[in-house]
């Protein structure tokens, strides 16, 4: 069973070695900047940036395609909507539908922007392990603690949730097999029948998960976990000059895109 949840491609490229905080900031800046100026030239700068990232990450391109595939329909839909509904001087007309250069231009721009956005996001998740991603997020959201937002605990929850997805998938498969051996059928019948056929799977899965959660909570307590207490880390986040270069590069790109 294979699922594309927070895909991470282990590697040792330059991008893998950046501090996760720097990567999160860089990607957030680019994502926001993408939406602040509507010009093909600006988009080209970010597309070039994404392309450089793609090459430097040394991640096989098919992995980026995997990230793009689920949002493909959104991109296509955006394109069609823009082509059909943007007013302008039509150069081609079929009944009530008219195609204008302005519409085509806008459609192309908006779809490309989505593609670049997804690629930039994939660059982050593909080169950053879920653990360091949540570590980075926890650090960056630290100021929210002043507002009594339990950021460390939230980060830990996310880390644990991500960690247990594969475990639960294995569990799920075992339970489905057991029920199939008892004659359960998950692939036939209408939607109602199929939903009902999941009861014998979901009930045991919940029971197992709750039991596991209980065990984990006890184990963490036994190992002196106290929520809200400042903890040290096995892998402390370290930033160096490389991260400064990354941020400078992104800043330069944003500046260039807003000037040209």
């Amino acid at each position: 069973m294979r699922m594309a949840i927070a895909q991470y491609y282990p590697g040792s490229s330059v991008l893998h070695h950046f501090d996760p905080r720097a990567k999160i900031v860089a990607v957030t800046v680019v994502a926001v900047a993408l939406f602040t100026r509507d010009a093909f030239r600006a988009l080209a700068v970010y597309a070039a940036l994404a392309a450089i990232g793609l090459v430097l990450s040394r991640v096989p391109p098919v992995w980026f395609w995997r990230g793009l595939r689920p949002v493909l329909w959104l991109i296509v839909l955006t394109f069609i909507a823009q082509v059909l509904f943007v007013p302008g001087e039509a150069f081609f007309r079929l009944g009530p539908i008219g195609l204008s250069w302005r519409g085509l231009e806008l459609a192309g721009y908006l779809s490309l922007r989505l593609v670049v956005l997804v690629l930039v996001g994939s660059l982050l998740t593909l080169t950053t392990s879920p653990i360091s991603l949540t570590d980075g997020l926890a650090w960056l959201t630290r100021p929210l603690r002043a507002l009594r937002v339990p950021t460390e605990e939230l980060a830990l929850m996310v880390t644990i949730a991500l960690r247990f997805i594969p475990t639960l998938l294995v569990e799920l498969e075992a339970i489905m097999r057991a029920q199939r051996a008892r004659g359960a059928d998950f692939s036939h019948g209408g939607p109602v029948r199929r939903a009902r056929s999941l009861v014998p799977v979901l009930v045991p899965l919940f029971v197992v998960s709750f039991r596991r959660a209980d065990d984990l909570a006890l184990a963490m307590e036994a190992r002196c976990y106290v929520p809200g207490v400042r903890r040290s880390r096995l892998h402390p986040l370290r930033s160096g000059w490389a991260d400064a270069v990354l941020l400078a590069l992104v800043a330069a790109a944003v500046l260039a895109a807003s000037l040209i």
Binding site: I175, A178, Q179, A181, P204
Partner: protein, 277 residues
């Protein structure tokens, strides 16, 4: 309990590999196995030797990469094979994890209902199988499965498989994490099933239980059959077990230490006492 006459289970050159990403991890390698109707066979071997995978293949829950599983001499694809496949019951490791219904009887009835049996047949099958695992309907039928003890839950899960009237029963580590009392009760239930004529194949690490219950044994190592047939303690059988991280059954060792012929080693403490006194 009707319909318990065992079936013949055989597999020929069975192979299977798990695929993980672009890696292929062989689990079962050209396994030949023969279990006569009503026989009881222990499937022994260290963890990761392919026991559980082999059971899944025998039940048809995994599709073999090569080789076939023949049931009563019928090969896959032939008419009647699906029905024979349904008559092979598989009890999973920690089978109590498959319990989901709000009452013991409903959980046991799940299988028969999936098979589309008329409700009166379902009722009868449920009552019979609950009785057989020592959880009589009057006392346990309406109990919530999660309110039962660990050993009772495991026997309830076994009843859920028995209710489908299997003619062969595959068990994956049925004794694991049970306390001695629960083990003893379960062992007695399995004894009863063997005596009733079911074909039993029992994957286990527990050689004492295996020796008490099974006429023959198959030792798996690295997905291959390392030894098959009788226990053969008179002919190097102990060495075979030791070579694969298993030990000699206590009663066999006792017999050897007493200087008695191991070929005549008793299966149960009671039989040992009778022979000694």
């Amino acid at each position: 309990m009707s319909g318990l006459a065992g079936i013949h289970v055989a597999c020929r050159a069975l192979s299977f590999a798990y695929v993980e990403g672009d890696r292929s991890i062989p689990a079962v390698n050209e396994v030949w196995l023969e279990a006569a109707p009503g026989s009881s066979t222990a499937l022994l071997g260290p963890s990761g030797s392919g026991k559980s995978t082999l059971l899944l293949l025998l039940r048809g829950l995994l599709e073999a990469d090569a080789g076939t599983v023949e049931l009563d001499g019928v090969a896959p694809g032939a008419a009647g094979y699906p029905a024979l496949q349904r008559s092979v019951g598989l009890v999973f490791q920690q089978a109590e994890r498959q319990l989901f219904a709000a009452s013991a009887r409903d959980d046991v009835a799940f299988g028969p209902r999936q098979l589309g049996w008329p409700e009166s047949d379902v009722e009868q099958a449920v009552a019979e199988s609950l009785e057989r695992v020592g959880l009589p309907m009057q006392r346990f039928g309406e109990r919530h499965p999660y309110s039962l003890s660990g050993g009772e839950q495991r026997r309830l899960a076994l009843a859920g498989v028995l209710a489908m009237r299997p003619r062969a029963l595959l068990l994956d580590e049925p004794f694991v994490s049970l306390d001695p009392g629960a083990r003893r009760v379960l062992a007695a239930v399995l004894d009863g099933l063997r005596d009733a004529g079911l074909t039993l194949i029992l994957a286990t690490h527990d050689v004492d239980q295996a020796w008490a219950l099974c006429d023959g044994r198959i030792v798996l190592a690295g997905g291959r059959v390392a030894a098959a047939g009788g226990w053969e303690f008179e002919a190097g059988g102990e060495e075979t077990l030791r070579a694969h991280c298993l030990r000699t059954p206590s009663l066999v060792e006792l017999w050897r230490r007493l200087g008695r012929p191991v070929a005549e080693a008793p299966r149960t403490p009671a039989a040992a006492a009778e022979a000694l006194l």
